[in-house]
């Protein structure tokens, strides 16, 4: 540089040429500023004005006020299998061995936040006074978890153990239990839930509500007559993007709905309910007679049936009761369409049809399943489509004449190119059918703006807002917490018996259609299936 500018040696003052060359690139900033201004104007329209024109509110779903003080609520749990463990963890109690494992994992990998998050989970001010399972190993595990009141690993100090019950009837008679979590196999749901309500215990029952239509009616009757606080275990009720989705549907952002698509996509033995068989499960440790009691046809002792019960019609209803119900309840929460006028199901055992997948008998319930539900009064069809042998995520899509809504953890609404409502704005370039006209990302500070593409990508993978607030919310915990709060406030929670009734009847219609190979109808006025 010095060499280059030797000829400047004898110049002392800044001359005109220096000024011109010194400032030569400054006007470039003007061009950039103009570009930024133009882009901002369009963004401002898309972010603020458009939302106002769409009439979407900018309020976040409010967090419910928590009332945890006073006497602890006394719980009992019936069924401590895979889901029972998750539910009790949602209530604040996990096995020391599990927490020990999480602690050790967190020491090795600082990204593993499971233990830290569980420690931070709200204390619901509850105690577990009774545990019950037909498999004695699980009764002991449940008791260990229930006594782990400080949420510690295997080296911790524990509280007193709850009473262990072999028979749920005895647990329901216990005077030191106010409410029960029921996580038994589906064929026991109705009897336990009805008996619990009749015994005056509040009920949280896992989905699907029941296997048969008659059971659904009987549960509703028992809950209505006893007035206990009832929650069905669809934790999707706590997904706050669904609340925004309901507002968007009500305000007609997608126009008249004509088709809704919901799906299940899994591809693992666990996802298809072909669970590991616990070798500790023997005639001595499992009460097989009790397990089979509600079955019309009895079977010889089979650990495979006990641990993989969802694969047989005697105990569950497969995709219909286990997973269609989740998707149905999510949409019912948003669109409030109730029980369909008709349902048709088809599918088959297409992947798990080989004997090597099973020990003694091949499964009965399909691994590929489609149900089409009709809502002529609302002018749309609801399609549920599932496979247990491929996990490509197909998401939930609500389609209307003016646009469609994509639902997951995030919510995005897109205008349709051929929409009537948005025609003018699309032509003027104010709306781009490829960019959301509205999006909602839970946890984000600002509802009043359309997320950038980058933000959508990161948030869609849970990389943005779960960590930002420092807390990742477990919806199962929130669902249990809502039920417990409802008990304290003497009201019904979000997935109450009316919602549960609609879920139960719909799933039963889908199951009947598949098993009887026919279209099934619902008469809303007479409340009858035909």
């Amino acid at each position: 540089m010095k060499n280059n500018q030797q000829d400047h040696n004898n110049k002392k003052k800044i001359d005109r040429r220096d000024l011109l060359k010194g400032m030569a690139t400054v006007p470039v900033l003007g061009a950039l500023a103009y570009g930024v201004w133009r882009k901002n104007k369009l963004d401002h329209y898309r972010n603020h004005q458009l939302r106002q024109e769409l009439n979407m509110s900018s309020v976040m779903p409010a967090e419910a006020k928590k009332v945890w003080d006073g006497e602890p609520l006394r719980l009992g749990i019936i069924g401590y299998g895979i889901r029972g463990k998750q539910l009790l963890k949602g209530a604040g109690f996990a096995m020391p061995s599990l927490l020990q494992n999480w602690k050790e994992q967190a020491e090795q990998n600082s990204d593993d936040k499971r233990y830290a998050e569980f420690k931070e989970q709200d204390d619901l001010n509850v105690v577990v006074n009774g545990v019950c399972d037909l498999f004695s190993v699980r009764v002991d595990e449940a008791a260990e978890a229930a006594s782990n009141i400080h949420r510690e690993g295997t080296d911790g100090s524990y509280g007193p153990q709850p009473r262990k019950y072999k028979n749920y009837q005895d647990l329901l008679q216990a005077p030191d239990i106010d409410a029960v979590i029921i996580a038994s196999p589906d064929h026991w749901h109705a009897r336990i839930a009805i008996d619990a309500a009749r015994a005056g215990k509040h009920v949280y029952v896992e989905k699907g509500l029941a296997r048969h239509v008659e059971e659904v009616f009987a549960i509703r009757q028992a809950i209505r007559e006893t007035g206990v606080v009832f929650q069905l275990g669809h934790q999707g009720r706590q997904t706050d993007s669904y609340l925004k989705a309901a507002e968007a549907i009500e305000k007609g952002l997608v126009g008249d709905i004509n088709l809704i698509e919901v799906c299940t996509n899994r591809n693992s033995p666990n996802g298809a309910w072909v669970y590991p068989i616990d070798q500790r499960g023997t005639r001595e440790t499992i009460d097989w007679k009790m397990f089979e009691e509600p079955c019309e046809e009895k079977h010889p002792f089979s650990p495979e049936r006990f641990f993989r019960w969802r694969c047989w019609w005697d105990y569950g209803t497969g995709l219909s009761g286990d997973l269609l119900t989740h998707e149905y309840d999510a949409i019912n929460q948003i669109v409030k369409m109730g029980i369909p006028a008709s349902a048709v199901s088809s599918g088959g055992v297409y992947f798990y049809e080989k004997p090597e997948h099973f020990v003694d008998e091949v499964r009965e319930v399909p691994d590929v399943w489609n149900t089409v539900m009709e809502y002529p009064d609302r002018n749309f069809s609801l399609l549920y489509s599932a496979t247990l042998a491929n996990n490509r995520d197909r998401g939930k899509v609500i389609m209307g004449h003016d646009g469609h809504m994509e639902l997951g953890n995030n919510l995005s609404i897109f205008a349709c190119q051929e929409s009537t409502r948005y025609k003018d704005k699309i032509e003027r370039g104010l709306i781009d059918p490829a960019t959301p006209i509205y999006s909602y990302i839970p946890g984000r500070k600002d509802v009043d703006a359309v997320a950038t593409a980058t933000e959508q990508y990161f948030a869609g993978r849970g990389l943005l807002y779960t960590y930002r607030g420092g807390r990742r919310m477990d919806t199962t915990h929130l669902h249990i917490a809502e039920w417990i709060q409802a008990i304290r406030e003497n009201r019904q929670p979000s997935c109450d018996i009316d919602q549960a009734f609609e879920e139960g009847i719909t799933a039963a219609m889908a199951t009947i259609s598949y098993r009887e190979n026919r279209k099934v109808f619902w008469d809303r006025d007479k409340e009858e299936i035909s």
Partner: protein
């Protein structure tokens, strides 16, 4: 003057400097104007040799806030420096460092798949690396004191 550079050489070097400056400046402005912007997603998506360090930054709220602030203002100041040719050498070196960090957090490895879809095909060499190397070229072929405010600031030194 400009004995070392021919006019086309000088012209291309300045255009390159201004273009990189423009890009970094706009990246900074966009982040500054978006109240929801945070580097957390980008950091959490880090892969490769130093991923652990970037994940740790993302999970520490205080550190994250500092990184966000430094990133936004780093981009804006480096961008302004390059466009206007003011403190060009410092801006160039800082730019190389910043782009180096971007590259190290998201290296174009054979097995690395990032959340944001790539706009092209890269193996080891990606656009962050190329932009960083282009700044390296500008560091050894400086132009700030010929076309740029540095010509006015460093006039005395240059005229020594």
């Amino acid at each position: 003057m400009n004995k070392r550079y021919s006019n086309p050489q000088l012209w291309m070097l300045v255009v390159l400097r201004v273009a990189i400056g423009w890009h970094l400046l706009y990246e900074g402005i966009v982040k500054l104007m978006n109240p929801n912007w945070s580097s957390v997603g980008y950091l959490m998506d880090s892969k490769g040799w130093f991923a652990g360090i970037f994940h740790d930054i993302a999970s520490n709220p205080g550190l994250l806030q500092a990184v966000d602030f430094l990133n936004i203002w780093g981009l804006i100041l480096i961008g302004l420096g390059l466009v206007m040719g003011v403190f060009t050498r410092a801006a160039t070196i800082a730019g190389i460092a910043l782009l180096g960090l971007y590259y190290l957090s998201h290296p174009a490895l054979i097995n690395a798949n990032y959340v944001i879809p790539s706009d092209g095909s890269y193996i080891f060499v990606n656009k962050n690396l190329i932009e960083m190397l282009a700044l390296g070229v500008l560091l050894v072929f400086p132009t700030g004191r010929i076309i740029g405010i540095d010509r006015l600031i460093f006039r005395k030194t240059a005229a020594r």
